[in-house]
Symmetry: C2
Subunit: 343 residues, 2 copies
DNA sequence: TGGTCGCCTGAAACCGGTTTCTGTGATGCA
DNA sequence: TGCATCACAGAAACCGGTTTCAGGCGACCA
């Protein structure tokens, strides 16, 4: 029945009270007598009044919204990122604005515009320029996710290096593999850059010559298939192992290898990164690194919400969440105890 | 230099003009003499003033934002959906609010809350109750994406039935296959429901008995692997073909089949739906149905923006975008002319 | 020279809330 | 009975913009 076009003043008139009283009742603040409260609630109920978000936001000086900025969407990683962020924001009654920059040239402007519509922003590493990031941070609390910002901008990221170091060492030392290749584009994101660096460092640590260049492709399954085309085509010597920047690439390479009749891991070792759900389920199951993406995003949301609540109390620093090496069969290890259904 | 805490009145004072003039200059509306314009622009420039979004939105009576509601995020489908929607909204200077309901019980309330923060909402079919949908439509323009709404709510969807009918007929008639199974949960979304219905109808049309029940799993690659475990385990007779509700499931089934040493399509035929990028690249390449997901979402955004611009002019109806059957090798057809790299 | 028209400007109302500040009446205590 | 205290209500200011409306002023014409 109620028309949502009602405003405080109309409700106040209908209930025979002042707007202040209506506001107090609808927010549960201040002291209101039982009689007044009853009359106001009655009018609110009868006309289905709900306070306007804009008016409230303007008066409160806050938007009730958080921003999330990323270069593009692909695969389970971003999926988890968004959901982790959202799951933390919604209970705090904050809505989530998203912005895919697609690495367009006007990304900086769009991000700054977003800064004027939300109470805080989480920006994926490598998405916008450092200048824009600093300017944004002057407007609202900012957290860099999966990367590091300039100056004293907060950041949350996973320990990419540690686990990639352990993984590469495992392949080189425990499985005695040589001729490993790395598939992924270090210039594409800080995460991949860290992984590539750790991949090379593990080689150096063990006195093995690493490949000079990565196979630079994007992060989707299709790119993995393309990489397999390139690596496994006849003519060139086949590598012993393919270390992929994420699981999607790895699955693409796996499909490409299996489709060519290669046996994994006997003929070719393949590893991923992220531990996406399918990683445990494919045959052979994928050796990878578990990365707490949802927690990463949720932590970013928490930091922003906290900073928005307590302005001026800007805590700086970089939060690094641990990752975990997950050894399965695609590297040559025996399959983990869990059967075909994963854990 | 500029402090963004400036407001119109301060700028007006500094420029020695009225707030009306500042507003006129910053919006380019009305008549302002060159002298006044210069003074105002100077003050704006000097102090880095940018009008507050909330104040402007309140006065204009519009939020400058669109909402997008979906049950959860998984895979390229939602990725494309979000990006298609976003690519249409951003040029219109509208920000995009997202809400993953996760099919929670309080989804209806959350969606209605969103309705109070945006100028229009696109809701994925099957995400919230019809009552909530109707109530939402009373507040803001609403479009149902990939599904149909109650009453005269606008909807945009793809022609699921037509292509699934053609695909199933192709398998039954052209490849003379029997014992097909359908993998996907019709109760999960209107899309899958339509596909399952068309799958059965094709059987009936050709006088073949369809399976009584689908293999009801979710829409991710991991679920396809699980379905493969179930279908290809020893003991039960193996089906001749697996018709999957989307490409992700199909890739999961493909990996499961290849990992068991089965040959596709010789031992098992597999088909998908969506034509995600990897579909053309895997070996064997995946027979599937191309669905214009980004266009779907972009069309939804256009409809909402238009409806928000012209209130009262509510056009009703259901827009159905065409789909296209894409025959590749996984059904037994010869591989398309394009090499390993897809088209 | 007087009147009309049109350009430009600013005061004030408005969008829809919250919050401060003032004032009233009732109550408690001496 | 007189005074301090307290609970409560409402007027008005405020958040930061846009827009209406009325008026001042110069130009043009008779």
């Amino acid at each position: 029945m109620g028309n949502s076009r009602m405003n405080v003043r109309e409700i106040a008139k209908l209930a025979g009270v002042s707007v202040a009283t209506v506001s107090r009742v609808s927010n549960g603040t201040g002291q209101v007598s039982e009689e007044m409260r009853r009359r106001v609630l009655e009018a609110i109920e009868k006309h289905g009044y709900r306070p306007d978000h804009l008016g409230r936001a303007l008066a409160a000086g806050r938007h009730g919204a958080l921003g999330l900025v990323f270069p593009g969407l692909s695969g389970p990683y971003f999926t988890d990122l968004i959901q982790g962020f959202e799951s933390e924001a919604v209970p705090s009654r904050a809505s989530v604005h998203i912005l895919c920059t697609h690495l367009r040239s006007d990304s900086d402007d769009q991000v700054l515009e977003m800064g004027r519509r939300v109470d805080g922003v989480a920006v994926m590493g490598g998405t916008i320029s450092d200048e824009a990031l600093l300017q944004l941070a002057r407007m609202v609390p900012v957290v860099v996710v999966a990367g590091e910002g300039p100056g004293d901008i907060l950041s949350v990221r996973a320990d990419n290096g540690g686990s990639m170091l352990a993984l590469t060492r495992h392949l080189l030392a425990d499985h005695d593999l040589r001729e490993l290749v790395f598939v992924g584009n270090p210039a594409g994101s800080p995460d991949v850059s860290e992984r590539w660096t750790a991949f090379r460092r593990a080689h150096h640590d063990l006195g093995v010559e690493p490949p000079a260049e990565p196979v630079a492709v994007s992060m989707q399954q299709a790119d993995g298939v393309l990489a397999a085309d390139q690596l496994l085509a006849g003519g060139t010597p086949r590598p012993a192992g393919v270390v992929c920047a994420n699981d999607e690439i790895a699955l693409g390479v796996l499909v490409g290898a299996l489709g060519r009749g290669l046996r994994v891991p006997q003929d070719l070792v393949i590893t991923g990164f992220d531990d996406m759900p399918a990683a445990a389920l494919v045959t052979p199951s994928l050796t990878t690194v578990r990365q707490p993406v949802r927690e990463l995003a949720a932590e970013a949301a928490r930091l922003i919400l906290h900073a928005a609540d307590q302005p001026g109390n800007a805590s700086a620093g970089s939060l690094v969440l641990p990752t975990e090496l997950v050894l399965r069969s695609s590297c040559g290890c025996p399959a983990p105890p869990t059967g075909g259904t994963g854990s």
